[in-house]
């Protein structure tokens, strides 16, 4: 009897094991699909800092080409815009990852938001001041006493530093979401992103030859901009997930730069889905400029990395202008350079 039971048990054991391995094999051989992984909690949400455009091409491309999926991430890209500030969404947990300007992030960090930078994407500032030659501005000195339209807060750091550099007294007006104030002549100088508003001005009929431009990074104000951020807790819970997200995003950017037409197709898909009033030439310009600022020629900084020195330069300026009181520690702020390039 025992022998029989024992045999049965043995048999059962064996079959259980067999069954178990079979099930395991079955599970392992299943093609990865969101549902399966969702159950495992690998869905992440990502919020770009503005409405869909080439500024976020790398992420869209990574999504469409499956780079996130390849690293085990099921990414949901939210629609960004003025009503969806990433700092808020990250803070409230509505988004796991988001992009922010370095300056904005430092300010938030100083305010107590527990954000960390897991990947510095834009290495070079694209902020510029534009003026029409017809208003008489050819050199920085010509700006003295003129009206300048600037965006708020952290976007004013570099321009203010610039004015201080050149000992200029200007009348600063807040700039809205369009360049119309500048186009209509309401101000002589306006802030613009090289990849965005500058081209909008050209697309409104002003020829580049008719403008005087001051790219602030040419004036020593090399503030890196877009970076990928998440809550500290998100990182510590699963560092690899964050690293994977950044790595896949970087892969996406690299692919976008080497396949611009395909990348543009993807971007336009998101643009049209969001019914945005932009066009392909605009997005094409933007993508090209993103490459200039994400992979600036002659730079020795690796993609995704933030140098401590640069960080402190930026933070110091913020402090100088009284935007922050204390400078957050770099180590707390930025983690991931080595891990990004460990391979």
């Amino acid at each position: 009897m025992t022998i029989m039971i024992k045999c049965t048990f043995d048999f059962l054991k064996k079959s259980m094991r067999l069954l178990f391995s079979l099930i395991l094999m079955g599970l392992l051989s299943l093609p990865p699909f969101p549902g399966a992984w969702a159950a495992e909690g690998n869905t992440v949400t990502f919020i770009p800092q503005w409405t869909p455009q080439s500024q976020f091409a790398g992420y869209y491309v990574a999504q469409e080409k499956g780079f996130y999926r390849n690293r085990g991430l099921d990414v949901k890209i939210l629609k960004g815009g003025p009503d969806f500030p990433p700092s808020e969404l990250l803070h409230t947990g509505k988004a796991d990852f988001g992009t922010l300007f370095l300056t904005t992030a430092i300010v938030k960090r100083a305010k107590g938001y527990k954000f960390i930078n897991i990947g510095q994407i834009v290495q070079r500032s694209a902020l510029m001041l534009v003026a029409k030659k017809s208003s008489g501005i050819k050199t920085p000195a010509d700006m003295n006493g003129k009206k300048v339209a600037l965006w708020g807060e952290e976007f004013q750091i570099q321009p203010r530093a610039f004015f201080r550099q050149h000992h200029l007294q200007v009348k600063i007006l807040p700039q809205g979401t369009t360049m119309n104030l500048f186009l209509r002549g309401g101000v002589e100088v306006a802030a613009a992103m090289w990849y965005n508003e500058y081209y909008r001005v050209i697309q409104a009929g002003i020829d580049p030859e008719e403008m005087t431009t001051f790219l602030l990074s040419d004036y020593g104000l090399k503030f890196p901009e877009d970076g990928i951020y998440c809550l500290e807790s998100t990182y510590t819970k699963d560092p690899q997930k964050s690293i994977n997200f950044v790595l896949a995003s970087l892969e996406g950017w690299r692919y976008a730069f080497s396949h611009p037409d395909e990348a543009l197709d993807i971007v336009m898909k998101y643009v049209n889905a969001a019914n945005l009033p932009t066009n392909r030439p605009q997005q094409s310009w933007m993508l090209k400029r993103m490459q200039d600022i994400i992979q600036p020629p002659g730079t020795d900084v690796l993609m995704g990395c933030l140098q401590e020195e640069t960080y402190y330069q930026v933070a110091q300026e913020l402090k100088n202008f009284g935007v922050i009181e204390n400078i957050p520690e770099f180590q707390h702020f930025y983690r991931s350079c080595e891990s990004l390039h460990a391979k």
Binding site: G176, A204, D207, Q282
Partner: protein
Amino acid sequence: MRNSSLATRLTIFILACTALIFIAALSYNYSASKATIMADAVEDAKNLALATGNKIEVTLQGVEKIPRVLADILDEQPARQEELLRLLNRALVHNPEIYGLGVFFEPFAFDPKQYYFGPYVYRHQKGVKVEFLGSDTYRYFFLDFYQIPRELQRPMWSEPYFDEGGGNIIMSTFSMPFYREKDGTREVLGIAGADISLMGLEKLVASAKIYESGYAFLISQNGRFLTHPDKNLIMRESMFSLAVSKNDPELRRIGRDMIRGGQGFVPVNDFSSGKKSWMYYTPLGHSGWTLGVIFPEEELFANVRRLSQRLILIGFIGLVFLGVVITLLSRSITKPLRTLAATTSALGHGDFSVTVPETGAKEIKQLAHSFNELGEQLTDYMEKRDFIRDTFGRYVTQEVVKRLLESEEALALGGETREVTLLFSDLRGFTALTAEMHPEQVITFLNRYLEKMIEILIDYRAVIDEIMGDGILAFFGAPEPLEDHPARAVACALTMQGAMEEINALNAADGLPHLEMGIAVNTGTVVVGNIGSEKRTKYSVVGADVNFASRIESYALGGQVLIGPATHWRVKDIIEVGEVVRAEMKGVPEPATLYEVRAILGPYNLRLKERQETLMPLAQSLPVHIYRIKDKIITGATGAAEITQLCDTAAVIRFAGELAAWEDVRLHLVDEQQNEKPGKIYGKVTAVEPGEGNFRTARIHFTSVPPESRTVIREALGA
């Protein structure tokens, strides 16, 4: 091209010219029409733009009115909230084009306690709604509709934007600043704004009818499309973004002109279809927007194209028709020419009687007429030529003529040495016989004889060298060589003698004297050829043997054929010889032996008639006078003479006096009274023999016997 027919040449040339003219006319028509149409199109565009523009202006101005009025009011005095709201409400209700109406104040400008004050009324489903705009999330100070007119301190229409409601409605706001005086300067107190939806404008612009696929559109002050049949362009693309995506820098240039308030008529490629088009643009009042009108070139010129196509078709058919007509016409013209060509060919082959019909065009008729005349002239010419030849031939043997006409060399002066056989013939005592005849009679008499003799000579292929009155000189064996010329000559001579009977019979019937002919034939080597000069040439013979033949002739009696030794040598085997005469000739050492030929055997087979040559002694001798003739002149007479023996052809006469052998004599029969009877008998002394005493006997052969005398002879012979 060289060998092409008249039809082909005419067709090609005329068709080419016609086609060129047609093409030139068509091209001119086409380009002129295009130019006219273009001018018309510009006018149409201007008018359309004007009309549409005016309508839009009317609408816009209607909208502008309200904020202006509001600003006016607010300029004067500060407003109170309820009043303001009532005003806004009223204005909105009474102006259906306006979607929303608001008044926005500078910070703390309305109420020192309120940072923002922006009452705004707008249409909402059932009625009108009021909202007080201005908050941290709606900081109107930095919105375009407020900020720009505030900074520029002038009224303006905003750059159109999408309605926040989420719908695809494009809106634009007209902002009118209002002011207050503060410390002597005027500063902006706030902005009165009216929002309108551009849907009405869109409908208005879209309703403009331009050909089939032409259309009107609006662009904003930034060059963006506000209306366009292609919805994808609206608000997204501008003239400048299109310039980049279509790689057309010209579009950018045009766009810049448009937003700077320019006006123009320019060629473009349609923004959506890419078709070649023309665009007229003009600014719309002071909104800063531009109206563009697109004319697809295809449609613009459709009528002209169609017309031109039809013209080309007509032209083409016309050319084909023309080609056919030309071909037919030229064929009908050349038909007589072709007939002419064929007929000329026939003419060339010797048929001069062919004619061509004298029909057709005047020139052709003339040509045909000339041709026919030519035929006649040729016929005449040929007749003349034939006449000449024949006449020529009458005087010169056909053989010689033929030879002469056939080759030029034959005309060359000079001769060749040949062996020929010569024939001399003579009528005995002809001159004396015809001395008393009428000249016409003489010619008739002579020609009868000559005609017959010449016929015979020609038959025997003799070359008649000369006809010297009653004497004939002919030769055989030149120019064409004749192998049997000796025999031939002899045969000819015999035939000639044979013919004399016939002639004499005719002569007797006509009362003309009896004729006797003597023929001499001699063979020898002579020079034969064209003798004389170019002006006067004779195909003749020259040589000793010619003279010899002439000498023989003098020995020939009437009815006799006498041949020389050389001839005899050649024909002796086939001839029958009669008399043999040993003739002594002057200048010839040895006497020559001459042979009388009575017949020729062989192929010719001829025989002379036997003649009554047997002398009959007369019972009664006939007294006769004898006159001696030398060189045809009577040189003397003999004494008394009488015929002792007599026959038809000869007589033996006993005479006194002198007579030499071979002398020519004239005999007169006399009566008892010694009166001469009529009739002169001519004869030749063939022999003289001595007689008794003074008398001698002469044998005289008659050469010519007149009919009277013949009668007497016949009587004497008792026949």
